[in-house]
């Protein structure tokens, strides 16, 4: 077995277990087939470049699918069931779940949701004031925790807490109000801003990101 194939087989371990049970072998086989056709250094470099991009594109989606509880959970939040989440909003909630797990929480809070959005959406990062402000927000949230983050958090689905559910429901109301067909991370941010008592909303306010400003942005 060639070194590239061995490396790819190792990389495949980052896909969810359930998905790997069915697709790990065919994926490794397909890569080996591509490897056979890559008979020059240039072709091999191109194959690795494409493969890295392919993994980057598909990995979040496979993990989101493997957590049906979260995905189905957010689909049934709020009365606006005809408003669908776009893929970026789904990834934000997926990352929020990861944040909550790393803090050892039993449910996802609006602070986790904010960290999830900031991790996912570059445009929202810019809106919030750039990388330095985002880092400040992250530190403010982490600083409130009594225990340090777990390095390898347990892989399990978590429910949304009451404020987070409310933020998601309001995000779904916000999308049609602003003429959007899908609820996006920006609508999630509007939902968070309406949870005024939470640290997440206060942090956004402190950096000039108010509901009014968010609604008037192009």
């Amino acid at each position: 077995m060639r070194l590239s194939e061995r490396i790819y087989r190792l990389l495949l371990k980052v896909y969810p277990k359930r998905y790997r049970a069915r697709y790990e072998e065919p994926m490794a086989q397909l890569f080996a087939d591509q490897l056979r056709a890559a008979d020059t250094t240039w072709k091999l470099a191109r194959l690795w470049l494409h493969t890295a991009a392919d993994m980057f594109r598909t990995l979040p989606a496979r993990h989101i699918e493997s957590h049906p509880h979260i995905v189905l959970g957010i689909d049934h939040v709020g009365g606006f069931r005809n408003v669908a989440w776009n893929s970026s909003a789904r990834r934000s909630v997926f990352f929020a779940c990861y944040e909550a797990r790393s803090f050892g929480r039993s449910s996802i809070t609006v602070e986790d949701l904010l960290l999830g959005i900031l991790r996912e959406d570059q445009a929202v990062q810019e809106l919030a004031g750039g990388a330095a402000v985002v880092e400040g927000m992250r530190q403010a949230i982490e600083g409130r925790e009594s225990a340090p983050r777990a390095e390898q958090p347990e892989q399990r689905d978590l429910p949304l807490d009451a404020a987070c559910k409310s933020a998601l429901a309001l995000a779904k109301e916000e999308a049609p109000r602003l003429g959007a067909q899908h609820a996006t991370p920006r609508h999630l941010l509007a939902g968070i801003l309406q949870q005024e008592q939470t640290l997440a909303a206060q942090l956004l306010h402190r950096h000039g990101l108010t509901l009014e400003r968010l609604r008037t942005l192009p």
Partner: protein
């Protein structure tokens, strides 16, 4: 109501399977050839799309066997279902109608002139 348009990846996979069952590498090679390497599907994209297509019953697995043209490893083959064939047919008609509309507005003709001018 008309069915939702298929994504390019789904349509290309269905099109590859219209004339017979294929394994993943066979599908990937045909799509790359048809699009002049414009659409290269890596293992993650191909099997992620096939997974969704299996769930939507557009394709089905047709067993494992070696491909005599490659090595002696067993490969999983896929075939199009009746529902998949209908979906591919509807998508082809939708695209044909779009091309007809583009021709009616002389878009294709204009483009050919423009390309001709550039030469």
């Amino acid at each position: 109501m008309a069915a939702e348009p298929l994504t390019p990846a789904v349509f290309h996979i269905l099109l590859s399977l219209v004339d017979g069952e294929k394994h993943g590498y066979g599908i990937m090679q045909e799509v790359a050839e048809r699009t002049d390497n414009g659409l290269t599907m890596g293992p993650g994209t191909l099997y992620g799309t096939l997974k969704r297509m299996l769930e939507a019953k557009l394709v089905e697995e047709s067993g494992e066997r070696p491909d005599p043209g490659l090595d002696d490893q067993r490969r999983r083959y896929y075939r199009i279902t009746r529902h998949g064939r209908r979906a591919a047919h509807e998508e082809a008609e939708r695209l044909e109608a779009l091309v007809r509309a583009a021709r009616a507005k002389a878009l294709l003709k204009r483009q050919q002139h423009a390309l001709g001018d550039e030469r």
